[in-house]
């Protein structure tokens, strides 16, 4: 079975930079870039949805691509 893969979509105007997603991402895909989150290693995303579930600002969407 191949590993699940995801594509992170960040809505920058909603992000308030609380750092929750960066901390709880198990594969360290996300990084803080001057108070707004960015996907630093998008290829490492395993579509676990931890960031999407815990983002209080509706700023992250994760689409399963594989």
């Amino acid at each position: 079975m191949s590993k699940a893969k995801g594509e992170v979509e960040i809505i920058e105007k909603y992000c308030k930079g609380c750092n929750i997603c960066v901390e709880f991402c198990p594969t360290k895909v996300l990084e803080m870039d001057l108070f707004v989150v960015k996907a630093a290693k998008p290829e490492a995303c395993i579509a676990c949805m931890q960031c999407e579930l815990r983002c209080p600002d509706f700023a992250i969407k994760v689409n399963k691509i594989a």
């Binding site: 579930l53 209080p56 600002d57």
Partner: protein
């Protein structure tokens, strides 16, 4: 696919007013998922709130919403349910709104066992009004009105609800995001008053006065203090010191209020 929250949110309302890291957004997502799971018709669902940060929640949702006086959410919601018993009624509010200013309405809604779902977001403080201590501020913690530590013992919202007669009482935290929608779903399906207490974080007015260096510290604390009910039965009293039980804490079947009231109308000879 990413979860489609946008269809449940009023267009143009985001970004919301809550502070960075406030757990209310996580609870709102949970509530949307629960309403989708229960397939609630938004035109037949009333979401009622009082005043406070948590009570801003219905303003973002695309359903029938009612923003009422401070603490009076349960009273207004009871009115909605009595006038339209077929409507699904969900009440949202914070700890100060629900248990201090609206404490009386809260316990009497529990006592009547009227078919509503009360989602109470306990962030340990009055956030919107400037960080005054609430009945849920832990003893010894600092708030703007208790700069030397709060001397008051706390209200345990879930125990209060059980004691007052609510027939479904559950507790979870903002960290346990998937559990929020599962418990709210159970609460909506339950016939009678369901109280779902969600332990939340307030980084702005509670966290910075109580030595939480970041939002993440507060989230990790929520994770550390919570113990599922099933696991707690195997733990000793010592191990449970300082912990909070999560999951369904109480569930029973009792006659529901609007059904009982219909009987009264029938007995009095009115048109039911």
């Amino acid at each position: 696919m990413a979860y489609d929250y946008d269809k449940s949110i009023r267009p143009g309302k985001l970004p919301h007013i809550w502070c960075p890291g406030c757990g209310h957004g996580i609870v709102m997502k949970g509530l949307i998922r629960a309403m989708d799971t229960c397939e609630l018709d938004r035109d037949n669902t009333a979401i009622v709130s009082g005043i406070g940060c948590a009570s801003r929640l219905p303003g973002y949702l695309d359903a029938c919403t009612l923003h009422t006086a401070h603490g009076r959410a349960a009273a207004f919601a009871t009115g909605v349910k009595m006038a339209k018993p077929e409507m699904n009624v969900i009440v949202c509010g914070g700890d100060g709104d629900g248990t201090a200013i609206g404490g009386n309405h809260f316990i009497h809604a529990c006592r009547r066992n009227i078919d509503m779902t009360y989602v109470i977001m306990n962030n340990y403080i009055y956030g919107m009004t400037g960080g005054q201590f609430s009945p849920c501020t832990p003893t010894g913690d600092k708030a703007s009105t208790t700069p030397y530590g709060n001397p008051d013992p706390i209200f345990d919202i879930s125990k209060l609800a059980i004691g007052a007669g609510a027939t479904f009482v559950a507790r979870t935290t903002a960290f346990h995001a998937t559990q929020i929608d599962k418990l709210i779903t159970e609460g909506i399906k339950h016939k009678g008053l369901a109280v779902i207490e969600v332990l939340d974080d307030c980084p702005t007015t509670y966290g910075r006065r109580n030595k939480f260096r970041s939002v993440v510290d507060m989230m990790k604390r929520l994770k550390d203090i919570s113990v599922p009910v099933a696991a707690a039965s195997k733990m000793t009293a010592e191990q449970l010191e300082g912990k909070t039980l999560t999951g369904i804490l109480h569930q029973e079947d009792k006659p529901e209020y609007t059904a009982m009231y219909k009987e009264v109308i029938k007995r009095a000879g009115g048109a039911a």
